[in-house]
Symmetry: C2
Subunit: 200 residues, 2 copies
């Protein structure tokens, strides 16, 4: 292991700074920023280059209210049935079934993916990874929210049956600060076989 | 839609430049670069912050040869059974069952994910999206290769049954140039409902 010093990494800086945000300012967002985020998503690789992703940009308040209503109904049910460890995590992180971010964020980006293509889910979440860094870069915030049931949403958004609704990304300026908590690198890497760790 | 001009985006530049590479130089890589890539992955968000990902860094040639042997056996079978459109795509892109990149790239990063956690797959592929941009930033190349069957690999790498093998990322310096081909932005975005397009 040589002593070469690496250059500063912009990606590492962005990735480290970025946290999931659930409280958004109602401050308007330039539509160009939304397009920028999707320009980045568009560049992601995909299984056999099928580009299975599609994006629905939502800014209609009535529609956002409807989406919120549907999601909260679904989440109320989900929170009741969640396993104990998850219930505790949700409580400790003050996450309830209530999803005000679905109307507070000026835009929602609904990410859907065509299930008939190989590795459609994997490809689409690579694109979402790209989007998260692009969103951070332009000073906006988001979280990836996947409702525990998506059938009703698909219906009101006219999403065809062969698409899965992968995530809703509310896009806005952050209205909260949050700390980050991650495992150490040495806890998540192994050398040549699972279980073989090495000191860094 | 206001006339504000956005600043240049480093993320967009990296994402646009990045292509999947299957031919690697045998030139050595600083181990620090491998750690840098994983430092970036470590920062990704995950369902209930469970960080379901683990990474096995492989540089042992004997092990790489064994992995290649197993993968080629699996892919030979897969290529035979692939649907016609995929067979054609593979042929047009000169992709055969042969996987020399598994020994040519100095490192393989095996990405595994704990299936017991919510959204383990989604979270892990966000982390992989982060990694792809980090790899591009430091001048290296990769592709996300997911064997069509992972049972034998899991066995030789001691990967526990509750983990899924999500991808193998060969990491090296690129030995080929490739063009990119992506749908236009207007082909992949809709406004408020699926099917409602708008001119940009």
């Amino acid at each position: 292991m040589e002593e070469e010093k690496l250059e500063k990494s912009f990606i590492l800086e962005l990735a480290t700074k970025r946290v999931s945000i659930r409280k958004f300012s109602k401050k308007k967002i330039s539509f160009k920023k939304i397009l920028r985020i999707l320009e980045v998503a568009r560049q992601a690789p995909s299984g056999a280059n099928t580009q299975p992703w599609r994006f629905i940009i939502i800014d209609d308040l009535k529609l956002k209210k409807n989406i919120r209503k549907i999601c909260e109904k679904i989440e109320k049910n989900f929170h009741k049935k969640a396993p104990l460890w998850l219930k505790n995590w949700l409580k400790n992180n003050k996450i309830s079934y209530s999803k005000p971010f679905l109307i507070e964020a000026p835009y929602l980006i609904i990410v859907i993916s065509n299930k008939k293509f190989p590795y459609y889910k994997e490809s689409t979440w690579i694109a979402i990874g790209y989007m998260l860094l692009a969103i951070e870069e332009i000073g906006l915030a988001t979280l990836t929210y996947t409702p525990s049931n998506t059938e009703f949403l698909k219906r009101i958004l006219n999403i065809p049956y062969n698409y899965s609704l992968e995530a809703i990304l509310p896009i806005g300026y952050p209205l909260e600060k949050k700390n980050k908590d991650r495992k150490k690198l040495s806890e998540i890497i192994f050398y040549n076989k699972y279980g073989l760790s090495f000191s860094i």
